[in-house]
Symmetry: C2
Subunit: 337 residues, 2 copies
């Protein structure tokens, strides 16, 4: 048995809470004996769910929290007012050192704001980027930043590139990850003001494998491992990626049902088709880490099922085992906080 | 027979020039007796291609141009130096009033720069946006701006919204087109500085049907008809849209070939599958207009085949018939140049 990793898990967050969340926790414990999960939320409901399973009860703890932050609530206000919410209580477990990490499928805004306000950034890190893993033709890439802090500055993007590279190498196991900046052309002189100012700074970094610009067309091909961009652009990329895939798949399904011959064809091809689509689902790769905090905060999809919760908990284990925050401090040459 | 519409067509531009370009011109003439096409490029080659077809030779003219601007050339320099290129000569045909419009599958950069430098903007229009039509689940939308002028200002975006709305209504035949601004959340207070400043200006316009923000996830659903954004974001959206669809389709095809059962299924379902994918191809909707110029400039895909060229030529006819530039001048309340 290795180092124990303690994760606070928001039992109330997301469309499938608490059923899929609790199942994800139980499944993760079965896969990793180093893991301890703090289920944060309404005690009675959590107990009922846990009653369905057999599990090592020394490694699942319940932390009662009676309030829930809804997705539609303005995040800053919600974090300030709902002190008894599962998100706020869980974040304090990380803040005070009881837990190493926090995983939630709840309100993105509250998680992003709460992560920065309560857990706090590593000293010297100016912004904490949200870095989801997206599927590509050849595997997956880390898209950094997709968070709520828009209008970043060039030095923010340089920090994103470095943190993303460390995470990609040690958590996603990609050696010498190729780092690229999202641009509207391959040439160095292309781009908006932000990209033009950031490009030479990234080029000058000798601690990352910077390969230059990436056009959005090349993102699905897996042309880069770490895709650096400002949060507005990152958010557009992430959501369009999900939207396009989902509409296209829907259209294909409708089309295949439109006549007898194609219906038979579809029935024969369906299992393979499903496998293909699954490999292209953004849900297969666990949650998105909010990097640069004094601890780890992971945001999973609102529609998370148990497998995504399980993968996110295992991801927290790797994050601690690989001492990602230690590596961030060291590589960005910033002191301990 | 209606009003005659004269279009300068770059016979040398794009991957399939001159074969598909010349074929597109001949096909367009057969569909519209109002159309006159000026084929601009190397005379001998154009004549050889034209020799393959029967057509009304009073309505196809050849304008010799011995130089070609390559895709990789820096646009500003190319436009200045290559006075004998098909792009520059064709743009002057529009500038001096010989032609109403220019269509090219050649260098995007040269077309965008040349359109503004040679043809020139309508007085009072500060930027000429490139507005491709993208396929959606329910039809198509106009994405404005996808051009080369990044870092737009709020008043530029307001002009884009108005011009896009006029084009959408009168060329794409969408009544009271729904205009939305690309944003990272549905609420008015969300967004980056540019979007926050632009939102109230659009809301105050009583001559467009502004429906608020659109998240990138909703773009493929066809939630808006005119999608307004700054060019860097627009470029990312357009290219990611094309890239995601193409990779997903490739993956599906590979998957279907992977075992015997799905191979049989795929053979049966293929015609229907192809129809579906065709309806989602960005090539089915003709070229992208560069709006706000003293004339019309249309950029088609570099990989354009004859059908896209033909559709783009017919689009130029509608543009003139509907007096789009007159409507732009009138609605934006700017005088004649």
């Amino acid at each position: 048995m290795g180092q124990v990793v303690k994760v606070a898990l928001d039992a109330m967050g997301g469309d499938n809470a608490p059923v899929e969340i609790v199942k994800g926790a139980v499944d993760a414990l079965a896969e990793s004996e180093d893991l301890v999960v703090y289920l944060v939320g309404k005690e009675k409901i959590i107990k009922e769910e846990l009653g369905k399973y057999q599990y090592d009860d020394r490694r699942i703890l319940i932390v009662p929290a009676d309030e829930v932050i809804e997705t539609a609530e303005p995040p800053v206000m919600a974090i300030r007012k709902k002190k008894e919410s599962s998100i706020v209580k869980a974040l304090y477990l990380v803040k005070n050192g009881t837990c190493d990490a926090f995983v939630s499928a709840g309100s993105s805004g509250a998680i992003l704001v709460g992560g920065q306000l309560i857990v706090g950034r590593i000293k010297g890190i100016d912004r904490a980027p949200l870095a989801p893993v997206i599927p590509t033709a050849s595997g997956c890439s880390l898209l950094i930043d997709c968070g709520a802090n828009v209008d970043a500055k060039p030095n923010n993007l340089v920090q994103f590139a470095k943190m993303g590279s460390i995470y990609c190498e040690h958590v996603l196991n990609i050696e010498k990850p190729r780092v690229a900046i999202v641009n509207i052309g391959a040439e160095e002189e292309k781009g908006n003001l932000l990209v033009k100012e950031t490009f030479p700074l990234l080029k000058a970094c000798d601690d990352i494998n910077f390969i230059g610009s990436i056009e959005a067309r090349e993102i699905p091909n897996g042309y880069a491992d770490v895709i650096v961009c400002e949060a507005f652009v990152g958010n557009v990329i992430l959501k369009l990626y999900e939207g396009t895939a989902s509409v296209l798949v829907q259209k294909i399904k409708e089309g295949l049902k439109s006549n007898f011959k194609s219906k038979i064809g579809a029935a024969l091809a369906l299992p393979t088709l499903k496998d293909t689509l699954k490999s292209f689902s953004t849900k297969e790769h666990g949650g998105a880490p909010l990097l640069g905090l004094n601890g780890l905060v992971v945001k999973t999809h609102g529609s998370s099922e148990s497998v995504e919760i399980k993968n996110s908990l295992l991801q927290c284990r790797t994050f601690k085992e690989q001492d990602i925050n230690g590596k961030i401090r060291q590589q960005l040459m910033i002191g301990n906080d």
